[in-house]
Symmetry: C2
DNA sequence: TCAAAAGTGGACGACGGTTTCAACTTCAAA
DNA sequence: TTTGAAGTTGAAACCGTCGTCCACTTTTGA
């Protein structure tokens, strides 16, 4: 019997296999044991990806991750043949965090306060990690995980909304879907403004929360209006700059029209 | 004297030159006369770009614009050596439109109503044109024009805000900068949701407007909360999908690990 | 210690977009 | 009608990124 135990194990229980990163189907099962060096590299890749994605967003190149992890690109591709798998590994446990936040929020006596606390803490969670932000907002990849996350999260949000509405504090014409859209809307702002003023989102979240409660409670709006230079910076970051950075060419375009003709005459 | 009059003209008044598309510096001056065929092509290019950018956003390829205009790529590059110039030509007159909207709004008796009307009509303007939306939100290119637009627009907005605040209807802790951020925030939502529900932005604009007035006037929130499939679609469109569309590879990733070893044994 | 399976790395081809350019066509002044 | 500059064209070079492939190295059980 020359078979290595881990390979044997895989043959016997194919459903337990490490599925090449497409772990969406059975995320809580064990991965097969990797050879020690492979496992070490896997962890280095994850650590590098976590670092880079947290600061640059989901779209960092595999090339760069590999460099950061001090590993070849091939290795990254072997371990995570597609981004879904990588994102899954990086983010699936965050779902638990969000669920935890929701449970905390449901435990608050005043459901309206609970709803506010949920939204606030959700943003606080996202504020440290651009990749997480993009992921939660709804990136094209990783639809699988997001959908399954939604199945855990939505009922809790619905419950929170129902309770808040029952107390009369939440306007009756605001539904669960609105909360999700508001999360996206303010999240989008946060993504744009985070490097200018990491707490700016609190201001606009407060405004919206004021807008969706039926009493005119008028909680104080935190912070102060951004000034012009800040706005400039925020807007500039809103739509992400073009990927293939187009070199600006020579800066003086007008004087060129006739260089040739002059020379030829 | 063999000189064509238009070339002569350029030599004499270099400041009047068509500046290769970088018209930011003196936009209201005449362009030099182009040869008739060149002018015709220029218009075809602009028309094509207008069409494509309105529906696909700022980043359509020059290749595609050229195809649509039935012109060679080279021609497009000759006419618009950089995107700034193209965007300028497409959008600079929109600034007048916005200024018009602002003047209308300032003419409304109730300054608060004026402010609301301005925001509503600004969004209505943007809703028909994805490129305009991206441009106004603050695309990396075209910083020049946007800055100069700001100089015309901001004072008017400031005036509107000041008046609305003077009546007491606008909360005193809301400033001009807030309005611009709100425009961006709701604009981001509109961009994401427009193909799902072109009027969804009205709902969230209404919420925010409710949140920033000091009385609890509670205007009706138009529309109704989006349902789950709609939200799914909206979120999926929020962060633009990766440019180089990654082909999903073969859908069955796990069974592949050992194909080679099997074959070789 | 050794063989063979697992794992590695980076050169390489594909791709999609941008930019150039030399050969060609069109225009309009004379 | 002629002439020469202006204008056009599209193929080809270029560029950055993605994902694959395979000759090479490492690990592991015996």
């Amino acid at each position: 019997m020359k078979t290595e135990f881990y390979f044997n194990l895989l043959e016997s229980f194919p459903l337990l296999w490490y599925d090449g990163g497409m772990s969406e189907m059975h995320p809580s099962r064990d991965r097969p044991l990797l050879r020690r060096d492979a496992e070490r590299n896997r962890q280095r890749i994850l650590a590098a990806a976590r670092r880079l994605i947290a600061e640059q967003g989901l779209e960092v190149g595999y090339e760069e991750i590999a460099r950061e992890a001090d590993v070849g690109v091939g290795t990254v591709y072997r371990r995570f043949p597609n981004r879904d798998g990588l994102y899954y590994e990086l983010f699936h446990d965050r779902v638990d965090t969000v669920v935890g936040i929701l449970e905390d929020a449901l435990a608050v006596e005043d459901p309206w306060e609970g709803l506010c606390q949920f939204m606030r803490r959700d943003f606080e969670l996202q504020s440290s990690d651009r990749g997480l932000r993009e992921f939660m907002l709804g990136h094209a990849s990783s639809t699988e995980l997001r959908q399954r996350s939604g199945e855990r999260i939505q009922p809790l949000v619905a419950e929170l909304v129902a309770r808040a509405r029952a107390t009369g504090r939440l306007r009756p014409d605001v539904g669960q879907g609105d909360i999700e859209i508001i999360l996206g809307m303010v999240g989008g702002l946060m993504d744009a403004s985070i490097h200018v003023d990491p707490d700016l989102w609190r201001r606009y979240l407060a405004m919206v929360l004021d807008g969706i409660q039926s009493g005119s409670r008028h909680d104080e709006i935190p912070g102060k209006p951004p000034d012009q230079p800040e706005i400039e910076q925020i807007l500039a970051g809103w739509v992400p700059p073009r990927r293939g950075k187009s070199r600006p060419r020579d800066t003086e375009p007008s004087a060129r029209v006739d260089t040739r003709s002059k020379a030829e005459s």
